[in-house]
């Protein structure tokens, strides 16, 4: 029971990060000539239930995550950027194996070097010393993205209580973290080591969630203010973001099916 509860709490923060990544994620854009997947219908298998859960999550955000994120904003900038750097550094322990699984060996090498330098010279990742040496930060990777890059379809879209939006594929990907796929989880929760406590993991996930929410306060407020159907907007943004990350789009712009635009002639 304790194990299930543990996994549930961890999922809360990992999914929260996924939701909020929608508003402020890294990466550039690409025109994707392969538009075959552009117009596929969204598989929202349990929409009525999902909408109810989404409303519940919105309430939770209003009473907990948003106020805490606002308070976090009052911390001095060096503290916030140091925290953000340390959490980013920690995420390399999931990104590196996924780089390898996706055949991104160069990226795996760069991330390994970045992790080694920042963990030591950068004092547990608080300072991004690696960037100073020309090893710039790369996009994060996770097991859901790896499954996607292997051709696994996203399956049904659904919303989990507290955890937020996900798909069958991404949920399976998240479970890999707790089955040995996340070294940070392994040394804190899965195995008893004398160096770390279970709470270290939970604090790090919670702080990552709050850090991300704080970075996207205005973006999410604007989305809420201007949406006719916030649920549908968040769903669209989540799925677009995941697709972009899985395809590792870079440099140019992938937007929407050009054929659909072609029908609209206003000039």
């Amino acid at each position: 029971m304790k194990k299930i509860l543990t996994i549930f709490i961890i999922l809360i923060f990992s999914q929260l990060l996924s939701l909020m990544a929608v508003a402020g994620s890294d990466g550039t854009l690409k025109i994707n000539k392969q538009t075959e997947n552009q117009n596929t219908e969204i598989k929202d298998c349990f929409e009525t239930v999902n909408r109810g859960i989404f409303a519940f999550n919105q309430g939770l955000d209003k009473i907990f995550f948003k106020p805490v994120a606002k308070g976090y904003r009052y911390l001095p900038k060096p503290i916030r950027s140091g925290t953000s750097n340390a959490l980013n550094n920690l995420s390399n322990v999931v990104t590196i194996p996924n780089n390898i699984l996706q055949g991104q060996f160069k990226e795996a090498g760069i991330n390994t070097l970045r992790f080694s330098i920042n963990t030591t010279l950068g004092i547990a990742g608080i300072f991004d010393v690696a960037s100073y040496y020309g090893l710039n930060k790369l996009d994060k990777e996770d097991y859901g993205q790896t499954l996607g890059s292997w051709g696994v379809k996203e399956g049904c879209y659904f919303v989990l209580p507290v955890l937020g939006p996900t798909t069958v594929r991404d949920a399976v990907g998240s479970m890999v973290n707790f089955s040995g796929g996340d070294a940070w989880y392994n040394v804190t929760v899965a195995n008893n080591t004398q160096y770390f406590e279970n709470s270290d993991y939970y604090y790090s996930r919670l702080t990552a969630g709050i850090d991300f929410r704080a970075k996207n306060l205005e973006a999410f407020d604007s989305l809420q203010k201007n949406s006719l159907d916030l649920y549908a907007s968040v769903r669209s943004l989540y799925l677009q973001d995941r697709k972009r990350k899985i395809q590792n789009l870079d440099e140019t712009t992938e937007t929407m099916n050009d054929d659909d635009w072609e029908e609209i002639d206003t000039q």
Partner: protein
């Protein structure tokens, strides 16, 4: 001989004028950004800023085109009367949404990084919104409709890889899908937003 010279001079002047009137997409974005920045950093009242920003949008954004795109498959079901009503409502909705998003910025610094023509009808202009104390740096790509090179129009903004037009389309489609494709429900939602 003199007639020929005059003809050639007039001919070249006309050609030059024609070239001057054709606007490069990146030039269009630079102009819009500069203009919007001046408005937003001015001490004008918010209402005045909104009117000026809306003027920029009406001239430079293909509001009708975006409106029809966002209807997706449902646009084929509309009769002429419904189309006229939809275009009018969408324009009001778009302008209200557009200005309310922008007035939150006091002086946005957007720099054009590059542009890329993807076909004869579209060019993507890539820009960067500079980081502020509150917000990180944001990548914004502008999808410019260039079928008429003399009057390029913005059709989409792609913020950090996420298309606003596509998000809008999926939002409207969700409303229609959940109401048996009845356009009146969308009209109602748009009207509620406009008077809000």
């Amino acid at each position: 001989m003199i007639k020929t010279k005059i003809f050639l001079i007039v001919f070249f002047i006309l050609i030059s004028l024609n070239n001057l009137s054709a606007k490069e997409p990146s030039e269009l974005i630079n102009e819009i950004v500069d203009e919007a920045s001046l408005i937003l950093s001015s001490s004008d009242p918010v209402e005045s800023k909104i009117i000026k920003l809306n003027n920029i949008a009406e001239i430079n954004v293909d509001i009708d085109g975006i409106g029809m795109y966002t209807l997706g498959k449902y646009r084929k079901n509309l009769n002429e009367e419904q189309k006229i009503k939809y275009k009018k409502l969408f324009k009001s909705y778009f302008l209200k949404s557009f200005s309310s998003r922008l007035v939150d910025y006091s002086d946005p610094k957007i720099n054009v990084i590059s542009d890329k023509q993807i076909n004869e009808k579209y060019t993507i202009v890539s820009t960067l919104l500079e980081a502020t104390a509150k917000n990180p740096e944001i990548k914004i790509d502008w999808r410019i409709y260039t079928k008429n090179p003399e009057r390029p129009l913005i059709r989409d903004l792609i913020v950090e890889g996420l298309s606003l037009a596509r998000t809008q389309k999926e939002e409207f489609n969700s409303i229609l899908q959940n109401n048996d494709g009845d356009i009146n429900y969308l009209f109602k939602s748009l009207e509620e937003f406009i008077i809000k």
